[in-house]
């Protein structure tokens, strides 16, 4: 059987993948950069935790409650801020993330504040996490390769043209934002029911930044890129624990390097698929063949 250390890591990877999938939809495909993702994760975590512990609701109901609250607040926040320009929107979402943290600390009678919220029943098992992670990726992939996905891409690439053609860009931005909030809230609920104890510091601005970094490094408009990047960035610090103090330094330098050298990210605009791999191998073989042909 797997050691609990390994299990714990895989579960963490799965939870992060779910959240990152949402961010990928929002940032990678719709082109909206947000730093409030951890705030929605916190909402999902705390609402589902409070539901499980205070109201004794079954696991599924708690999760759904978390997702619903995240969705509603995402909708509201979206209405207020999605009309704003890129960097204003970013700051507004950043502010949202901070405010969620402050409010959780302030209303400590309900949330436990900095003391944390404990005794959450451990419901997230390895199989649940893996199945849900794969499921989330599948749902997102489905969305992307549908009419919605094409509209998201239209918003990202040429917003004005999209408007001109009659696409309600606001509505699609709204959709992407609410979806990302829901994915984050879902991930938050699973997180709470694995670690059994949550504190506001687990959902601070560094976590939000990390999600965005993951998508940027993995590749915009590439779901598989985001997933792979998420897996790597979650596991890397554990595999290189001895270099822990250099971890964040590497991340920072990696982000700058990626943006400079390959700004669309490692897998930007491409999806990992058997067809793609086959093509690359064919291209490589073709190159060597033509070289031989020349000599």
């Amino acid at each position: 059987m797997l050691s609990s250390y390994a299990q714990g890591l895989i579960i963490l990877v799965c939870i992060n993948v779910i959240a990152v999938t949402g961010v990928s939809l929002l940032t990678g495909f719709t082109g909206l950069f947000s730093f409030g993702n951890a705030g929605f994760m916190a909402l999902g975590a705390y609402v589902s935790a409070i539901a499980s512990v205070e109201l004794h609701t079954p696991f599924l109901v708690s999760l759904v409650a978390g997702v619903l609250v995240a969705a509603i607040i995402g909708f509201g926040l979206g209405r207020l801020t999605l009309g704003l320009r890129g960097d204003y929107f970013l700051i507004a979402t950043l502010g949202f993330g901070q405010v969620v943290q402050v409010l959780i600390e302030f209303f400590d009678k309900v949330t436990g504040g900095a003391r944390g919220f404990a005794n959450i029943p451990p419901k997230t098992t390895l199989w649940i996490a893996v199945v849900l992670a794969v499921g989330s990726v599948a749902v997102a992939a489905n969305l992307i390769h549908s009419k919605f996905g094409r509209n998201f891409t239209a918003v990202r690439e040429q917003e004005v043209a999209a408007e001109a053609v009659g696409i309600d860009t606001f509505r699609f931005k709204q959709m992407a934002f609410v979806l990302s909030a829901m994915f984050a809230g879902f991930a938050g609920g699973l997180f709470a029911h694995y670690y059994m104890y949550i504190v506001p510091k687990m959902f601070d601005i560094n976590e939000s930044a990390l999600f965005t970094i993951t998508v940027v490094v993995g590749g915009l408009a590439s779901l598989s890129g985001s997933v792979i990047s998420c897996v790597v960035l979650t596991l890397l610090p554990e595999l290189f624990r001895s270099l822990a103090s250099y971890r964040m330094l590497f991340y920072g330098m990696a982000v700058v390097a990626i943006i400079l050298i390959r700004p669309s990210g490692l897998m930007g605009y491409h999806e990992l698929s058997f067809g793609w791999i086959r093509e690359r191998m064919r291209a490589k073989r073709g190159k060597t063949a033509s070289k031989e042909g020349k000599t």
């Binding site: 082109g31 950069f33 207020l80 801020t81 704003l84 320009r85 890129g86 960097d87 204003y88 970013l90 700051i91 507004a92 950043l94 502010g95 949202f96 901070q98 405010v99 402050v102 409010l103 600390e105 302030f106 917003e159 004005v160 930044a209 965005t212 970094i213 940027v216 103090s245 250099y246 964040m248 330094l249 991340y251 920072g252 330098m253 990696a254 982000v255 700058v256 943006i259 400079l260 700004p263």
Partner: protein, 290 residues
């Protein structure tokens, strides 16, 4: 107590204003928010610290080195990172993400080299206060505010009255036209980064004196950014007004409503401004070009 809180607010706000003006300079020219600005201030603070402790130079020289050093780091960050992204014609967001990466890099570079411990400049300016009619004013505070006022006036004169300032204003208004008219835009961009870095270095040393020196001290720049937005992004006078406004508002909210929810109010103000008057209090209405 009211007056004391206002004084508290002005004191904090003046620091916000100093950092915000550096932000605004870069924003006005390049339209991007330099996330790493606060960390350049931090680098300045550390340069002064290292010069003072390891180099054993007198404090005033350490400050000069800090300001010069921060200016250079700022200029370098443009030359190494931002210029490439601009020339690639990548979306503006990438600049912000690169700045974020740079910010994390700088913070952690200091953490692994100098260490995460809190440091101080020692008793360079003793902690003393003056009482004026029931209000306490720290000596350090007065000095800080004085320096900031002088610096901002100098900045205003530089931008408003010199040839250099004219070039900056031209370039920020329309870069293409300015370059067609003979303004060496690249040189100006470099100089603006230098200038912003100098201001950041100054802010860093002042922050180090008032508070303490630690690798994440640049995070105060977030408030400075909000100040910029409130005052009008890309507008140096707006940034100053925004900084002072936020400072005083925080003091009054913290003092009379709730010190716990103070930050929530600041962000609520941010959202409110963005909704009601997104160009800020003093900003011009900039429509996003297609």
């Amino acid at each position: 107590m009211f007056l004391q809180q206002v004084v508290n607010g002005l004191s904090v706000g003046s620091v916000y204003a100093l950092i915000a003006s550096g932000y605004a300079l870069i924003y006005s020219l390049l339209g991007f928010s330099n996330w790493a600005h606060g960390d350049i201030a931090m680098v300045g603070a550390y340069i002064a610290l290292i010069a003072q402790t390891s180099g054993h130079v007198p404090f005033w020289l350490a400050v000069v080195l800090a300001i010069a050093g921060a200016g250079c780091v700022s200029m370098l960050s443009d030359m190494v990172a931002y210029r490439r992204i601009r020339n690639n014609h990548s979306p503006k967001m990438f600049l912000m993400i690169a700045a974020m990466g740079l910010s994390i890099t700088l913070q952690n570079l200091i953490m692994v080299t100098v260490g995460p411990r809190f440091r101080t400049y020692g008793d360079v300016i003793p902690v003393r206060s003056i009482r004026l009619g029931g209000i306490s004013l720290g000596v350090l505070d007065l000095l800080t505010m004085g320096i900031i006022v002088v610096a901002l006036i100098a900045l205003g004169l530089l931008i408003g009255r010199t040839k250099f300032g004219l070039g900056v204003r031209a370039a920020s208004s329309n870069m293409v036209t300015a370059s067609v008219l003979g303004v060496d835009v690249n040189l100006y961009i470099r100089l603006v980064f230098l200038l912003a870095g100098v201001f950041a270095g100054m802010a860093g040393v002042l922050l180090g004196l008032k508070y303490n020196i630690y690798p994440t001290m640049g995070s105060i720049a977030l408030k400075a950014f909000i100040a910029c937005v409130v005052g009008g992004l890309g507008n140096v006078p707006g940034a100053i007004l925004g900084g002072v406004t936020i400072g005083v508002m925080e003091a009054l909210v913290g003092g009379f409503i709730s010190s716990g929810l103070r930050d929530a109010f600041t962000f609520a103000l941010l959202i409110a401004i963005l909704l009601v008057r997104p160009s800020g209090l003093l900003g011009k209405n900039i429509v996003d070009k297609a």
